[in-house]
Symmetry: C2
Subunit: 412 residues, 2 copies
């Protein structure tokens, strides 16, 4: 049996994407639940907010696409003004290139012949400007040999890490040694310096992160002075979704005749009601009155589910589980309650709480006298959008009246 | 943009399935990593082991398909002798019916008009014998009305739960009341009784589970004596992957002129090196010498990744993260180490340990003098197969020489 079977679409939710769902209303029970929905108005708000922030800070935006892996959203980010798209792997980069993204930062080491072949093909087929990270001589030599054989040139960013952190050189000396190895290969071009400050934690994180960013900036300027970037401006890039303000400040403040400062937040597009809400509140506190951008990010993603059982007073079992949403950074939170046949959803009271999640079920606690019954819908906000998105092949883009505008496909 | 973009296949790993990967070797770097692989020999062992167990105990096997959601595996389970396939949702049931599965137990309540429409379509299109669970009057009445309007008959199993557990009636009286409501509808047919004992925990779990199963069995026989099943044998079904031996013993011991005892383990097919290994060891201890089946289940799933960075002594960063495997029941465990160009993988030493997992990376601790370098492959065993499978659209079935025999598609 080699036939390709997919879950039914629209019709069902998880399945091969199409646009047949356009115009269907969640409130008319036209869509199989559980389903993941994104409010288009909030998505647009977030697209605009972060691009405005980057513009106001004088930095380029290369949104991390791994969060959504939704090529349609990559296109919206580009149309909003993104300078590049960040991805995490060679297959992800191919999906972005296929969607028409012209400049890609793969914020990871490119390892393995098949992955190198994917990147080689991407450059050949779409002419994509592609940059990836290196932090070891072994990897540089493997890349240099591979792309020499392919008759192509590969752009490299040297990754700078921190002790106890993830990938990346731990000292300037290491980075300078790698520059020398890169220079041995005509097939390689050093185009900048990268770091990911998100691995720095603890109560002194802001001060430590600032110091680290300053070191990375200074190293980049030093390497630029040494002519390591072939006389070109060096890409100087950092930032996940929690500290992008500090990166924008430190990198954006560098001499832009020598560097192109680039921030790479990803979760902002979807945002959440959990860890990234908290991170954004801290960003806002740090920015204080200096933030020139009006408004703020909005949580745009919900997973809708049915109440399937009310087996005991004060307990509702929902048709939603670890198969449908993230659970590693807080459990989903009831946002809306809707009874089919009523006019509109109402806000879920604060006392309703998902306290346990299994593979295909969640248990929600609520007051014993709550007016909830089997067949009601609950819309849930989530924490950590990345790990909700990768549960779905199809996401429903809805308007503020809960009607599907468009269905978009993910590429996990 | 409505074009459908998927990650590149074979070629890459995560993408639309095909069979072009057949014959490719993991050892030749022909496959993009990370990749999920299943050893066919171990899969066959597990297929045979559990079917033999069910046969030897005189119970029917309805493997839970939610674990893999891989229609190709459903077909292998049917060919091995499975009596039915268990699924968790209406879209999942449609995928199984499309794969040719003729008898389905949806071990969940069927809620919502679109989900009911999917089941109605499944019955009309494929003539599938379909059973789902009920535990409330509201749901029974909604189903009765829907299927009456559709001119179809829906088979129902009453779910019996436990206090503090998940779905299901909490007393015999509740179940009897539901029988009466079902009897009001010509469009509904009561075909059996279901329970899921896996929600019972604690140190006295075995004794509590046995007592619960005996109550469910006795209730079923009582309802049978009352003629609630229309004179037919009642399906009497329970069992996840941890307590199927007790269910087989208690339900299999009931008078089979009155009941059809059915167990529904799912994870056995893939098994693991974590929570299900432990659960199976306990099954074996309980079975003792009474187990007529030779051998045992084997962990058949691995995720292969590259070492992408060795940034500090004793630390390797792998191209594998929460996006690629389960992390809710223990982190992935290094099983094999392979250096491209060498003859074969070798067993990963016991001291190598994944101690941290991020979205797209894992951190592995190893001795400072370990002979590992960037570009090496690490094959990792996992715990909780369900939450690894749902990260992948394509799984590579390999032989014991690490060559791809077939690529199979998941339907999440």
């Amino acid at each position: 049996m080699n036939q390709k079977i997919t879950l039914p679409s629209v019709t069902a939710t998880k399945g091969a994407g199409d646009t047949a769902g356009k115009g269907l209303s969640l409130l008319h029970e036209s869509v199989s639940l559980p389903a993941a929905v994104v409010y288009r108005s909030r998505l647009d708000n977030n697209l605009s907010w972060m691009q405005s922030f980057a513009d106001s800070q004088g930095v380029k935006l290369a949104p991390h696409g791994k969060t959504t892996m939704t090529p349609r959203f990559f296109q919206l980010q580009r149309e909003a003004g993104a300078w590049a798209q960040t991805l995490a792997s060679a297959p992800q980069a191919v999906a972005a290139a296929e969607a028409g993204i012209g400049r890609i930062i793969m914020a990871n080491q490119l390892v393995g012949k098949r992955n190198m072949a994917l990147v080689s093909g991407l450059k050949a087929e779409w002419g994509t400007e592609f940059h990836c990270l290196v932090d070891s001589a072994e990897n540089i030599r493997a890349l240099g040999d591979y792309f020499a054989a392919a008759g192509q040139t590969l752009n490299l960013l040297i990754e700078i890490g921190v002790p106890g952190g993830r990938c990346g050189c731990r000292s300037d000396a290491e980075a300078e040694a790698l520059c020398a190895i890169i220079a041995e290969y005509d097939s390689l071009r050093l185009t900048g310096i990268e770091t990911y400050e998100g691995v720095i934690g603890g109560p002194e994180a802001p001060a430590k992160i600032r110091r680290h960013l300053e070191q990375v900036r200074d190293l980049t300027l030093k390497l630029h002075a040494q002519g390591r970037f072939g006389g070109q401006r060096a890409i100087l890039t950092g930032a996940g979704s929690a500290w992008y303000d500090l990166v924008a400040e430190v990198f954006g403040g560098a001499d832009q005749s020598k560097v192109i400062p680039v921030i790479r937040p990803g979760c902002y597009l979807i945002h959440d009601k959990g860890i990234y809400l908290e991170a954004q509140q801290q960003v806002r506190e740090r920015l204080g009155d200096s933030c020139a951008v009006q408004g703020d990010l909005q949580s745009s993603l919900e997973v809708w589910a049915y109440v399937q059982s009310m087996p005991e007073p004060g307990l509702a079992i929902l048709t939603l589980g670890k198969r449908d949403c993230a659970f590693d950074a807080g459990l989903p939170q009831p946002a809306l309650h809707f009874r089919p046949g009523s006019a509109r959803p109402v806000k879920a009271p604060a006392g309703w709480e998902v306290f346990h999640i299994m593979d295909q079920h969640s248990a929600m606690r609520l007051p014993e006298d709550a007016d909830v019954k089997v067949g009601d819908m609950i819309a849930l906000s989530t924490s950590h959008p990345c790990l909700t998105f990768d549960k779905w092949r199809e996401i429903h883009l809805i308007d503020d009246d809960y009607t599907i505008i468009e269905q978009v496909n993910t590429c996990f």
